[in-house]
């Protein structure tokens, strides 16, 4: 019913996260109505992001240059490394504004059932960074779920002898309602309780 190029665009848009067939259709018709320069900018931005972005050679964050903006920034605390699963996990930590150290992006979390073993993550590279010296603390900020926790434990076992290893606190989110919190979170908040 729809011309082939429109169908094709809807198919491609439907592959994006959070975009169903209906949203894809809405976006496709929106693009058809917009001036060509604007749609060209979107297409170019998609091409550019793949052509110009690579991994930082030290921390494996996304970067336009050999080293990412954090690794290039001499004002960041070089003795602190925060370990995250993916580059986008850096965003909420930076938004907090309290952390001034460096990062290390693993590229995922251990999940043997999905075929993700230690050699698939940048764990060796993390050990090498710590081995170079100057690092005093490694903060493990993998996700508070099964694979994130096992990744945290695995890395902690490897590093504990060489450096202080910490883990982000797990518990009730700020502003949350205890009544609606899930059991796992409440149980974690209880075991991690602090004296006031």
């Amino acid at each position: 019913m729809l011309p082939a190029p429109v169908e094709q665009l809807i198919t491609e848009l439907s592959k994006l996260p959070g975009i169903g067939r209906r949203s894809a259709q809405r976006i496709a018709f929106h693009l058809l109505r917009r001036p060509r320069e604007e749609t060209q900018q979107l297409a170019q931005a998609i091409v550019d992001v793949k052509e110009r972005i690579r991994f930082c050679e030290r921390c494996f964050n996304y970067s336009e240059e050999e080293l990412c903006s954090f690794c290039r920034d001499a004002r960041r605390d070089q003795s602190l490394i925060c370990v995250v699963e993916e580059p986008n996990d850096i965003i909420p930590i930076e938004k907090g504004g309290d952390y001034r150290g460096l990062y290390h992006v693993l590229g995922g979390a251990l999940s043997p059932l999905d075929g993700v073993d230690p050699e698939h993550l940048r764990i060796r590279e993390l050990l090498a960074r710590v081995g170079e010296g100057g690092v005093e603390e490694v903060i493990i900020a993998t996700n508070p779920n099964t694979s994130g926790e096992s990744t945290a434990l695995y890395i902690a076992d490897l590093l504990r002898e060489k450096v202080k290893v910490t883990r982000l606190a797990s518990g009730l989110p700020v502003g949350a309602d205890l009544e609606y919190a899930d059991e796992a979170t409440v149980s974690r908040a209880l075991s991690g309780r602090r004296e006031l």
Copy 2:
């Protein structure tokens, strides 16, 4: 904080309907993770849709050729024209599966406050189509809102002498709950009541 090409992509994605900054960020990081061929297909689909799609010369629906698939289809009832505001309004009508006539896409609805006057819509072209003869009924399927209604009345006044002009029924949607229907819809459903 994010590399410029990533920021640029997020900005472009945020311009799409229904995509906020957060969804745009999620889509951008998704594209960064996908293989280049896949993102290239998306970029190409966006470029193609603008390069290969034009307006049907007869009904102003989107088309790859001079005439759209409906206007080219000799099996469609050539004596019926359904008038819609935008090409995407054709989709729900075709999905219904009952309509077998042709279409005419106005390219919007009258809205003098927004500077949309009759000459900005394909009304002249509709009159010309009717003038060529062979059309027995024009079904006006503009949206059931203020500008859609005034567009319907405007067109009906121009065509009433030459051809039968009808309007899609307005009333309670199938499966709706009377209790939750808005007053305008109930009032329309009442005035349009039919004998059983």
